[in-house]
């Protein structure tokens, strides 16, 4: 029967037997940033809830999010969001069957990295007038 040897079969993928490539790092980073952004969303939703609850509570939530630690978390979130968005576009191209050639995947990965740095700079520059 088909399920006779189910428990002993080797499981794929054997990631550890491959030489680490930077595209592999990008791949797992997509997942890590996705999970991390869930936590960022909790913070942002809390901020909205506080805004709906009233002035006093909002001042508290707002002060927490714009404190040094809060600010660092938000900057990190902005980078993670930018990375996830850019790499998400890369994934949509792959879903359409395009960009699988090694050289293309390598280059699109570099574009994702560049975008993940440039987009936060653009947001901070345009929306906040920082720099």
């Amino acid at each position: 029967m088909a399920d006779v040897n189910r428990g002993n079969r080797p499981l794929s993928p054997h990631l550890s037997i491959y030489r680490p490539l930077y595209t592999m790092i990008l791949s797992i980073t997509h997942r890590i940033t996705g999970v991390g952004l869930a936590l960022s969303l909790v913070l942002i939703t809390w901020w909205f809830l506080a805004l709906a609850v009233g002035e006093e509570y909002f001042e508290f939530a707002n002060a927490m999010l714009t404190s040094v630690i809060g600010g660092l978390i938000l900057i990190a979130s902005l980078w993670a969001l930018s990375f996830h968005l850019c790499n998400g576009i890369r994934h949509l191209f792959w879903d359409a069957g395009k960009g699988f050639e090694l050289e293309t995947a390598w280059r699109s990965g570099l574009m994702v990295l560049a975008g993940s740095v440039l987009l936060p700079v653009a947001v901070l520059l345009l929306a906040r007038g920082v720099f």
């Binding site: 939703t45 909205f48 709906a52 002035e55 909002f58 902005l78 947001v123």
Partner: protein, 126 residues
Amino acid sequence: MGYRTDRQRVEGLGSAKDGTTDWWQMRISAVALLVLVPLFVFPLARGLGADYDAVRAIYQNPFNAIVAILFFITILAHLRHGLQEVIMDYVPGKAMLTFALLTNTMLTTLIGVIGVFSVAKIAFGG
């Protein structure tokens, strides 16, 4: 193995039969978020750290309020499917997996509802 025929053993097994729905939902929400995320992030980046009345004014603007509500609805679907994929890859055992999936559905829905409710309350001036 009992006396069941091969066909009976196979029936009802196999795929959960809605894998393509999940996959497709993920892509639809991803494309929608490509538009919604920038529209959501810019007013948010202006609002964070601003004073109470200024931030309320941002989200009493109908455009910003509608974008924010669309964002929360769409991110709810995207986040739930995304986390579900991660949970199914890493959480071992049927009991643990079921618990994790239930928790995921409830918490992501809670976040989405809190977000939509908050923006609506602000937008309607309550």
